[in-house]
Symmetry: C3
Subunit: 506 residues, 3 copies
Amino acid sequence: MGGSRRAVYVLAGIWVIIWILLPSWAGAQDSENISAQTRGCLGCHQTVTPGIVSDWKNSRMAKITPAAASEKPARQRRVSFDSVPENLGGTVVGCAECHNLHPDTHDDTFSHGGTDVHTVVTPEDCATCHPVERQQFSQNLMAEAYGNLMDNSLYEALITAASGPMKFTGTKLTQKAPDAETNADACLFCHGTKLKVEKIEERDTAMGPMEMPEISGWPNQGVGRINPDGSKGSCAACHTRHRFSIKTARKPDTCSQCHKGPDVPAYKVYKVSKHGNIYSAMKDSEEWDFSAVPWTVGRDMEAPTCAACHVSLLDSPGGRVLAERTHRMNDRLGWRIFGLPYAHAHPESADTSIIRNKNGLPLPTALDGTPAEKFLISEKTRVERTRTMQQVCLGCHSSSWVSGHFRRMEHTIDSTNAQTRTATEILQKAWDAGLESGPAAGGRPFDETLERMWVESWLFYANSTRFASAMGGADYGVFENGRWHLTRNTREMMELLELRQKTENR
Amino acid sequence: MGGSRRAVYVLAGIWVIIWILLPSWAGAQDSENISAQTRGCLGCHQTVTPGIVSDWKNSRMAKITPAAASEKPARQRRVSFDSVPENLGGTVVGCAECHNLHPDTHDDTFSHGGTDVHTVVTPEDCATCHPVERQQFSQNLMAEAYGNLMDNSLYEALITAASGPMKFTGTKLTQKAPDAETNADACLFCHGTKLKVEKIEERDTAMGPMEMPEISGWPNQGVGRINPDGSKGSCAACHTRHRFSIKTARKPDTCSQCHKGPDVPAYKVYKVSKHGNIYSAMKDSEEWDFSAVPWTVGRDMEAPTCAACHVSLLDSPGGRVLAERTHRMNDRLGWRIFGLPYAHAHPESADTSIIRNKNGLPLPTALDGTPAEKFLISEKTRVERTRTMQQVCLGCHSSSWVSGHFRRMEHTIDSTNAQTRTATEILQKAWDAGLESGPAAGGRPFDETLERMWVESWLFYANSTRFASAMGGADYGVFENGRWHLTRNTREMMELLELRQKTENR
Amino acid sequence: MGGSRRAVYVLAGIWVIIWILLPSWAGAQDSENISAQTRGCLGCHQTVTPGIVSDWKNSRMAKITPAAASEKPARQRRVSFDSVPENLGGTVVGCAECHNLHPDTHDDTFSHGGTDVHTVVTPEDCATCHPVERQQFSQNLMAEAYGNLMDNSLYEALITAASGPMKFTGTKLTQKAPDAETNADACLFCHGTKLKVEKIEERDTAMGPMEMPEISGWPNQGVGRINPDGSKGSCAACHTRHRFSIKTARKPDTCSQCHKGPDVPAYKVYKVSKHGNIYSAMKDSEEWDFSAVPWTVGRDMEAPTCAACHVSLLDSPGGRVLAERTHRMNDRLGWRIFGLPYAHAHPESADTSIIRNKNGLPLPTALDGTPAEKFLISEKTRVERTRTMQQVCLGCHSSSWVSGHFRRMEHTIDSTNAQTRTATEILQKAWDAGLESGPAAGGRPFDETLERMWVESWLFYANSTRFASAMGGADYGVFENGRWHLTRNTREMMELLELRQKTENR
């Protein structure tokens, strides 16, 4: 028998197996498990928006009913309701199960194909099956990301400094606050926009003219989005539509969208860290399983991703819990290494717009570094949270490794805070001399040149240095926006101050 | 039967299957389908340059004859000739089929192993089997990348400012134009060099001394390369040698070589966008197929790559065409968000060296922002091209999503153009005051300090902000070379102008 | 028979196969091949640090005894001893085989579970099975990375400039040398720390209180680490613990930890190079094999990684050796493109702290560019090493390609060195005028503003331009920290010099 004929036989055999398996795989979404209402949606949408539909068909939600999902052993469960939600027991979770939910509370509800549909699916909708995660997330700093930025007068001033349009009058430069569309394209892209139904408009679609709401601030999937039902956040920020795969949420690439800039270089630092090296080099090995629940250290993965340290339910191969799942990521964070302007113990409340430092400014630390203690977690809580995080580290590292690592990181928090203090003192001198206009003089503290240099000293360089320390980011603590830039910038602030003193005093 | 013995049996079975299949896989390139001439090449080159040969053996070209390729249904075809090229019907496309083609038109043809061979395979050679793609590409901005840069006196001045060697005389700094070798290593690395046969030289090779052409500008695979047969471009820029895999061309990494710097941060922005997040997290899933033709949204991939939006033939799973394949990428581009110095409607002709703005400068916009309208596409064409692109978006997004996205992007084009205007006005003031030497005074507009800051304001920061807006790049529109840097830079320009006014006027 | 029932049968069949195979896969580490001592370790550690244990279980070391490893044909061998080390023949290499080795020479040896264990496994320990690699590495620049930095007074001054804490006195800025913990978190993170046992302390562990050494400088896996047994280096820098996979070491991501910053942008440049494009796009193809020894060009990979060009044993598919394995990476490096401050022929000795330039400064080149020739390799050796590297290139590229590439790269070395010369002359002028305090005046040459700009001109911009040239990094030679920044920075140095001359002389 010749090689090519044998190959044909074997290939034929393989095709037979595929043909046998195919119906059970591809058939899921055609089964009686799909609700009549969702079938109605699919009728048009598999033609009109085939990408979404295919994406959903590949999702777990399209394959398993909430009732079936709830029958799993507790620790393997992805749903967190106490009892199966009414009307959701027998069908998989399709278009209608999310987009037709709670029509009365959704300002964006509109009549579409004979049903009341809304465009924006919100945490309140997802809470039908995932109430525990929704509840945790609502206490997560991220859920308040819109208000934490927009309801803080100082941060609003930072937004204006960053994104406000500048005009040149011929002799001087003026700057206004940015408009809503610019904010939606800039800071609020990650923080979340405020979605507001402006009007119902007739729109030309592939199926002819249709009435649909025009929603200002849309599209957006920011973590702190203000939704048309009044809820806050977007689960799709991490659980990317319309597959909602736990695999996506667990991969660091997903976090990169909002955590890659010089202000929060978490992803960049992770990628050059040993954890990130291992992830990049080994993640496609057959041993790695990004979908297993619980997620087992050493069996499902060999190095942590962002989710492993901050969110996921982690087990040891023997079944010991290393960390409980939490969507209130604060649970594992003692320090907030993101300085404002100093790194500090984590805020007590997810809503940070309520914080006032000792000088009455809405900042978690005073300009001299004093933390706004009554708005921050206690020393005891900070140590407890650090211990919670360390349980993850200890899954792979010895206690001497872990204690050495955290000792060094806390030293770096102290030393970078000291550098921020030095930069602040130089700026204060400029403010005192009337060379730039600070808060005491009623000025915005972020828009003039020395002020902007000061902002970069803590927002970019001290920050980058701390992220590098926390994850082992090497050059992000030295020549890649690290200490070298921190000291260079401080020196340049000093020189500019001196130059100003000379040139202004003449 | 013990576990290890059973394992041996099963493993043996697997090996038998592999052994059966192997000949049919590995055997392709040994078949009678390889031309006698290519066999001649392989005789030495599988020893001398084994990497290339293996690469080619793994390619589609080594496995399928043009005749067989043309028998595919029209929409699955990768070749675009009307009838099978003479002499190419019965053999696969090997060394000789490309490197021995058109010997008379190739200045780099030399006698080698008894045949007339040329080093540089050109679009004209590839057009033998891919005439439609070659024709489209010739009308693509990229095909003219060499002349668009080198035949524009202003851009030549930019090249000199960027790459020209500087000397310090002891009191001042002088700068000359860079030499050809520096250009080949810098701008022309991507834009393409001009290849010129300098002489035939004897070279020591693994097979003894041989006569070969010395080609200045070689090696290079820039998109606008001027070839020894007079043609323009290099298909290998994207269809990487010698595998020429559609998989490579469709992956965004390939585009990163020339689209990653601060001037064109497309790849960086893509990677942090939701599309890029999904790509990074999910691309290795079994569902993704980077080789399917047509490329089916939702079946072969779950998120677009660069190629999906700009080049590929895209279908819906139902077989509806979302976008026709085009190698004239302009077809889907209404705006050119890459500002020169302002973002503008796309140029009409691929050759942009012919453009003159209202002041006679070879720029698509005047320094006050007025577009050079008669060289740019009409409003009508711009809207049509945007609609073509939107058909791709609508494969996965609702019409309200798409209209909101494009409304926001066009707002960002306007607002960043306004910032460029402000920066230009400050520079104009400096030019008017004789503080720096602009075009009106016969100076190069890119080489002095304020001028360089101005260049960065549009080339880096406005640009980055627009790329971020177009793809959802978050911090690339704010703190990562975005609006923060744009406003900071504008302010620093203003301060430097003021300082100069003070210090020069004393 | 319905589709779902058939699926059940087939799935059942697949499970049977898995069940048959499982014991032989999972059983390895439970076999009699594990030493009694290592079994003792595992007894607790598979509970206490399950991640490490799983990682090791997946490693080659856990599966193959040194005796079995030595029976491979010479060129496929991963061990390099002449005869199997005593006591290691019959068991796999587990915890005790490394951590209990050489207890007498290890200052960090402590009594733990009844045995003498040390925390830090060193090259001297690894040399038991890999003596050739250890010997080569000891002659590699990297092995001396600690002393090359810390025993060089000039580089110490650079460390202080970069990382030293700054204080503002109210009128001026002072800077001290950084403390040890800061250095460990900054430069020494990659260069390696000096590990020192400070004391034995009682520690709370999951198994109750235990006595363990407190080691200053720990954790660290820098390439030049000074170990508690006096040896230098850390094999785990590249051969990541506790899997020690050759796959990890061969992937470029591993190198990124220390080779990604603006001073050594090797990884960033690689990723946008054609080699990197191919790697990113194709590495998951079934053809790629990152574990094969020898590593065969065109069969196991289609484009080189860092390891392929600098370290690995490379063969052609026909079995011809393209490059011998070397852990003395200098073997393939003629030039050191990392300028200090000029690019130069590679240093002769791995210990560069002995180098003195013609002015007696510990730099491989004088400030006017003259190389410290007697400490650098000869022209002949430089050419020979380049030829060794070119053998790798020639595996896939024609001789005209290779000669053109290297000609261009050497031109770029010359032209960037000339730019460094220009920048140095400007700085020298400032030093001569007493505007900043250089070495002649007893000052640190890296800490003042013009000095820092000068550092960036060679350390960031000239360097980036050369890395881009060496690997085809396109924009890293122009707008991404390349020539544009080099010329901009030089001009700004000139302007600052002029401004200082004006303002200081008043």
